[in-house]
């Protein structure tokens, strides 16, 4: 297997963390994995993305040109990456913030109102975990339980109070797309 993934959104939506959580899960599952951030001249609140490659064999370049999966958390990200997704690839869209119509007809689209769902849960910042739960419901390249374990390890000791809500967000995203 091999998946080339782009996670994109604005700063503060946990875009880097989303990529790290998936990479960490993949590492624990014994896969080859690379993670590459958009770096440097970025501003807080501006757009950001991270690129993750997960594979059964070694990975040459960590740069993702044609993602097989793109998670778009806001409209600028949707606009930027819709055209780049590989044929028959998957786009997971945060429909709370992206109202645009999908022009591509050769890709699979999954719409998740992640920001609204996160608000209902009590913290808009867990929309990223809702998206990851949703993603694993339709693409089972990683085990959901392995993701939960990875997030448990990644959240620093000082923020363990956030663990429960993050895990709940993963479950809700998963259930939303398993219905």
């Amino acid at each position: 297997m091999r998946e080339d993934i782009i996670f994109a959104g604005f700063g503060g939506q946990g875009i880097m963390f989303m990529g790290k959580a998936v990479s960490y899960t993949a590492m624990n599952e014994g896969k080859f994995v690379t993670w590459m951030p958009s770096y440097g001249a970025e501003v807080r609140g501006g757009t950001a993305h991270s690129m993750v490659i997960i594979s059964d064999s070694s990975i040459a370049s960590p740069v993702v040109r044609e993602p097989t999966i793109c998670v778009a958390m806001n409209k600028p990200s949707f606009d930027k990456f819709e055209g780049r997704i590989k044929e028959r690839g998957l786009m997971v869209i945060n429909s709370s913030l992206v109202e645009s119509r999908v022009k591509r007809e050769d890709i699979e689209v999954l719409k998740v109102p992640a920001t609204d769902m996160a608000f209902k849960l009590g913290n808009p910042r867990v929309s990223n975990m809702i998206m990851l739960g949703a993603l694993l419901a339709v693409k089972d390249f990683l085990r959901l339980e392995a993701l939960r374990e990875a997030v448990t390890e990644l959240i620093p000791k000082s923020r363990k109070d956030l663990l429960a809500i993050n895990k709940e967000a993963i479950s809700q995203g998963y259930e939303y797309c398993s219905r």
């Binding site: 994995v33 690379t34 993670w35 590459m36 040459a60 370049s61």
Partner: protein, 351 residues
């Protein structure tokens, strides 16, 4: 041993600490900022010194000072900052002081951009600063190799008493991939006694470390001694990896990030029955000249691939003494060559 997920810059910083580095001075610049950031947190934990200097020039000269007292010392920067350090590096070479200098290259010339690049090859392998000096240059291609080469860099710097550069690029510095690290920081802490350092001369004769040699013939003698040392290094410290040296008709030559992509190209083309191989210099100076020359029997053509407008390609030509045609494919200013582009280039040349 533990498997961790860290970015290349952090792996490098942790490896330096494991290698016994206890003095780091630097000045921020993208894409290597994770090195000083990591050092600022980690150095106090191991009883080392972290200094954010007021400039790159200051940082390299602080490393000069730490080195002459015997510390394992390191500075890091990215291309424009490394240009600023050149005077200091020349003085390190002139005073025969060990130091590790890290260049996580970005696009140039000038301020350029912050994207990955390999366009400081000439500067790194030719010296960069003034005078008849050399520095050992090591080019890791994976995060795991960063661990090994960082340790090696400190060992070589101490055993030859000279600056050693670790040459990476923005991609290698920023990316994360799983890395196996030793559990103990003390694993390879350097303990060899240095009998030349300035550590107070009570009860012994004073030692002098200087690069100003005004006596009649004194500097020429010194330079001859340096050259002798450099020749010894050329004989002993060449490191490279060769894939399919025995039967390749077309040999790719690439280092660092680009060699990862070339390795994939070799795999793809070999599956189609095409006799393509790869030479990956790990030490850029000393350059694997003999190793390349030994391949000119079966190899009909060489193709050097770089993230530059063509720099290492000159060393390939010198190495094989132009016995076979040497082609070049490069991207610059942040362009990263793709597998498809390289295959297209190979097809243009050979198939």
């Amino acid at each position: 041993m533990k498997k961790v997920l860290m970015c290349g810059n952090e792996v490098l910083a942790e490896s330096a600490i494991m290698a016994g580095c206890r003095f780091y001075a630097g000045y921020p610049i993208t894409p290597q900022n994770e090195i000083p950031a990591y050092m600022s947190r980690r150095m106090p934990e191991v009883g080392g010194v972290f200094i954010q200097a007021e400039s790159e020039i200051s940082a390299v000269n602080m490393v000069f000072g730490a080195s002459l007292t015997g510390a394992r010392a390191m500075t890091s920067s990215s291309s424009p900052g490394i240009s600023l350090k050149q005077e200091g590096i020349s003085y390190l070479a002139g005073c025969e002081l060990p130091a590790v200098i890290v260049n996580i290259m970005r696009g140039g010339p000038g301020l350029g951009n912050i994207a990955p690049s390999q366009s400081d090859y000439f500067q790194a392998t030719r010296g960069g600063g003034h005078g008849d000096y050399r520095q050992i240059v090591l080019a890791p291609a994976s995060l795991q190799e960063i661990v090994d080469l960082t340790t090696l860099a400190f060992d070589l710097a101490d055993s030859y008493r000279m600056p050693v550069m670790i040459l990476g690029d923005g991609l290698l510095g920023q990316m994360m991939e799983p890395v196996v690290l030793a559990d103990s920081v003390e694993r390879i802490a350097y303990s060899a006694k240095k009998d030349w350092i300035l550590d107070g001369c009570k009860g012994r004769k004073p030692r002098i470390i200087k690069s100003l040699l005004l006596g009649n013939g004194e500097l020429e003698q010194f330079n001859e001694r340096l050259q002798k040392k450099y020749n010894e290094i050329k004989n002993k410290e060449v490191r490279c990896e060769i894939l399919h040296g025995e039967d390749s008709k077309l040999m790719l030559v690439a280092y660092g990030t680009v060699s990862r992509i070339c390795r994939k190209v070799v795999k793809t083309l070999r599956e189609e029955g095409k006799k393509v191989g790869l030479v990956r210099p790990v030490s850029l100076w000393p350059f694997p000249e003999k190793e390349l020359r030994a391949l000119t029997g079966n190899v009909e053509r060489f193709l050097t691939v770089e993230m530059s407008c063509g720099q290492m390609v000159e060393d390939v030509k010198l190495g094989i003494e132009c016995k076979k045609p040497v082609h070049f494919y490069g991207r610059s200013g942040g362009g990263v060559p793709t597998e498809e582009e390289i295959i297209k280039e190979i097809e243009k040349i050979m198939y």
